[in-house]
């Protein structure tokens, strides 16, 4: 399945939008470096629409209590309900459990058209 979902300029870097690939609700993400990523629009935890969530960064793990390093600004997608974090640039993997991830789709381009397709 393959579908034009929007024009490139309709989604600015650091933002997300909801769209559909046929009957499948999709969250389309554009990271601050301009790259596009597409995932199923459903949190694997309790099913909230990820497109209603927020794009942000996250504190990196540290070895010292009280120490914070905020990283990946614009590359983390947080669920609108329980705040579960997914790494947009790492196949939509859950930060706290990388074995779990959002469903993935291919993103390609034809001119300014953004095309989402199922993976083969």
């Amino acid at each position: 399945m393959k579908e034009v979902v929007c024009k490139k300029e309709e989604l600015s870097p650091g933002n997300i939008m909801s769209t559909n690939l046929g009957p499948i609700p999709i969250v389309l993400c554009r990271t601050p470096d301009g790259e596009f990523y597409a995932f199923t629009d459903k949190c694997v935890h309790q099913g909230a629409a990820m497109s209603e969530g927020v794009v942000c960064g996250a504190p990196a793990p540290t070895d010292t209590p009280g120490e914070y390093h905020y990283v990946k600004e614009g590359e983390i997608l947080r669920c609108p309900w329980h705040g579960i974090e997914y790494d947009i640039k790492n196949e939509g993997r859950m930060l706290v459990d990388p074995n779990r991830k959002l469903g993935n789709f291919n993103v390609s381009f034809e001119g300014d058209d953004v095309i989402v397709s199922t993976r083969k």
Binding site: P25, Q46, G47, A48, G53, V54, P80, W81, H82, G83
Partner: protein, 361 residues
């Protein structure tokens, strides 16, 4: 929401409606109205850290589309929760924030706020949707006024409980018993929902994740206070709904209280029954925030409670730790699911009809 849904009766024991102080003003007389208007006064919150959900306290997608805070608009709540999930009934548990019962001093203002809140709740929520049932808010630190307020609105057909915050007061203290007597007189149960500060004596742990992990501790303090102060012997028709600490602490707590009672009952001779039996007959707890269990784990907890009537479903809408009726619990079989999602709550609140109507608005 696109996912397929298993249609079943749902009685949701924790839905938060939200008021702004501006909306309460028409329900307040002077000088209370002037005190708020002239100084832009709002009661101070105490939480020393942000709630680190995606959007703070609330679901990020629950903000009212016109910009008002989540829970502030009936039609949006109907659309996003009641209609979408297909609620048969929901119990409103919002309040002034913090609750009037949490106010330190200035009890007169707390009483005025509780009264205004109840009138606002009845007019704007309870009388506009047949599915919604309410909680009587009181200033419990002034029991005489609290009793007057229960007498004033407790007979409203859609008020089902008196709501007390889980705070720095163990509510079993005989000082508060007139409140329970009034509640029982009006066929109201006692609902307890945590407020701020949530821990005994108002102390906070260093991190929110600690606080959110130990909420059952504060619920245990309240349950043991009610049981060992003899509340349920004194008011045999009264029941207690403990809202928003899950249920998995209950089996161990029942065991512990029974063991303590066997050896230390001399201190509380007015307590005539095993605490676990009192829990089974008088205490109900909500699933939310759910401990994520497999079916086998869930059933084991039910077995250890020796009752499938204690656990009731709640969403906590619109807060960040909302539990989906379709995803939060594992499949449990039709009989148990019916009890948890509706029948246990229906049996808890005698003022809930056996069949609830549809929206009339």
């Amino acid at each position: 929401m696109a996912e397929s849904k298993k249609k079943r009766p749902i009685i949701d024991m924790d839905i938060h409606e939200r008021v702004t102080y501006d909306e309460l003003l028409p329900y307040l007389d002077n000088p209370w109205q002037r005190y708020i208007k002239d100084t832009n006064w709002v009661q101070e919150k105490h939480l020393p850290y942000p709630i680190l959900g995606a959007a703070g306290l609330d679901r990020a997608d629950a903000k009212v589309p016109d910009g008002r805070p989540a829970g502030n608009d009936l039609s949006f709540m109907q659309q996003q929760l009641l209609d979408d999930v297909g609620h048969e009934a929901g119990i409103l548990t919002g309040a002034g924030d913090p609750s009037p019962s949490s106010m330190n001093g200035w009890y007169e203002m707390a009483v005025a706020l509780a009264t205004a809140y109840n009138d606002w709740q009845i007019e704007n929520w309870l009388e506009k949707d047949d599915r919604l049932y309410g909680s009587v808010h009181i200033a419990a630190q002034d029991p005489a006024s609290a009793v007057r307020e229960i007498e004033r609105v407790g007979s409203h057909p859609k008020m089902v409980q008196v709501l007390l915050p889980i705070d720095d007061r163990p509510w079993g203290d005989p000082y508060y018993h007139p409140i329970f007597e009034a509640a029982e007189r009006h066929n109201l149960m006692i609902g307890m929902h945590h407020q701020e500060p949530p821990n005994y004596y108002g102390k906070f742990p260093r991190y929110f994740v600690e606080w959110h992990s130990v909420m059952p501790n504060t619920h245990m303090i309240q349950i043991s206070s009610m049981i060992f102060n003899g509340v349920f012997e004194k008011y045999p028709n009264l029941k207690l709904a403990m809202i928003e600490a899950g249920f998995t602490y209950i089996p161990a707590f029942m065991k512990k209280m029974d063991q303590q009672y066997k050896v230390l009952r001399h201190e509380v001779p007015w307590v005539k029954r095993m605490p676990s039996d009192t829990v089974k007959d008088h205490v109900r707890v909500t699933t939310q925030p759910v401990d994520e269990l497999t079916k086998d784990e869930f059933l084991k907890f039910i077995e250890l409670m020796d009752s499938d009537e204690i656990v009731c479903f709640s969403t906590d809408y619109p807060h960040w730790d909302y539990d989906s009726p379709f995803r939060a619990l594992p499949p449990l079989g039709e009989e148990l699911e019916q009890k948890i999602f509706a029948e246990n709550a229906r049996n808890l609140y005698p003022k809930l009809p056996t069949k609830v109507g549809k929206v009339t608005q």
